[in-house]
């Protein structure tokens, strides 16, 4: 393998590592977003309420 080929190989490796990092970062971002949505939606789904607590109907 000549010098030019070695350099090409290193470049490819670096590119792959860089791509992998980007993918990992994106995965983390997606996971964080999913957790945020889940955390926001959960209390809403479990919300309790009092019907006609202001006594603004019927009277």
């Amino acid at each position: 393998m000549n010098c030019a080929n070695k350099n090409s190989y290193r470049l490819v490796v670096r590119l792959n590592t860089s791509q992998e990092n980007t993918m990992n970062r994106n995965s983390l971002r997606i996971t964080a977003l999913a957790l945020l949505v889940l955390g926001t939606a959960m209390p809403t789904a479990n919300a309790q309420s009092i019907t006609n607590g202001g006594f603004e109907t019927d009277l």
């Binding site: 479990n46 019907t51 019927d58």
Partner: protein, 189 residues
């Protein structure tokens, strides 16, 4: 004024009455109040030793979780044959779905009219079931007959003594994510 002693109409609430015409539905135009929460409120009312009350069953509760019920109360302010006013009280309790003890709250003194000064109080209970029944009753330990005004009842989840499964899952997944991140960083170094 609306006589609710025959059981309503009062959407969402079950009425238990011992004395006609209580409970009474009031509106600001009737010369009493005003309530700062909309234009209507109710008087639970008292006669002799009979304390009228209203109840509502609340669903979607989580056993072991604490809930805060907040409400506004006001007092009948003028003097009557029993003496001076400003003695109105309300007792909040759970008829079912909770072992939390009842609690009694005193309304602030009125200024000019009866039920013209309102305070917000909070009753906290811990649910032991997925539904529980809240009871709000006229209270008056010295039985002077001053009707308590009630308005603006609401509920929200308070401090949880037993975390919900969903929250535990969230916490675990966050820890796992954080751990993976740290591990990846240390490997990179």
């Amino acid at each position: 004024m609306t006589d609710l002693s025959s059981g309503g109409p009062l959407t969402g609430w079950t009425i238990t009455t011992f004395t006609s015409p209580y409970p009474i539905g009031m509106n600001n135009s009737s010369g009493y109040g005003p309530t700062p929460y909309g234009s209507q409120f109710i008087l639970l009312g008292i006669y002799s030793r009979s304390h009228n009350y209203i109840e509502q069953t609340i669903s979607r509760l989580t056993a072991g979780t604490s809930y805060d019920v907040s409400f506004a109360i006001a007092t009948e302010g003028y003097s009557n044959s029993y003496g001076l006013g400003n003695h109105s009280q309300l007792t909040a309790s759970m008829s079912s779905g909770s072992a939390t003890a009842a609690q009694t709250f005193s309304a602030p003194s009125s200024t000019a009219n009866s039920w013209d000064t309102w305070s917000t109080d909070t009753y906290s209970f811990v649910a032991n079931s997925s539904s529980a029944t809240l009871r709000l009753a006229q209270a008056d330990p010295i039985l002077l007959g001053f009707d308590v005004g009630l308005d603006n009842v609401s509920i929200k989840a308070g401090t949880s003594s037993v975390p919900e499964p969903g929250n535990v899952a969230l916490l675990l997944s966050s820890c796992l994510g954080g751990g993976l991140l740290l591990r990846r960083r240390s490997v990179r170094k």
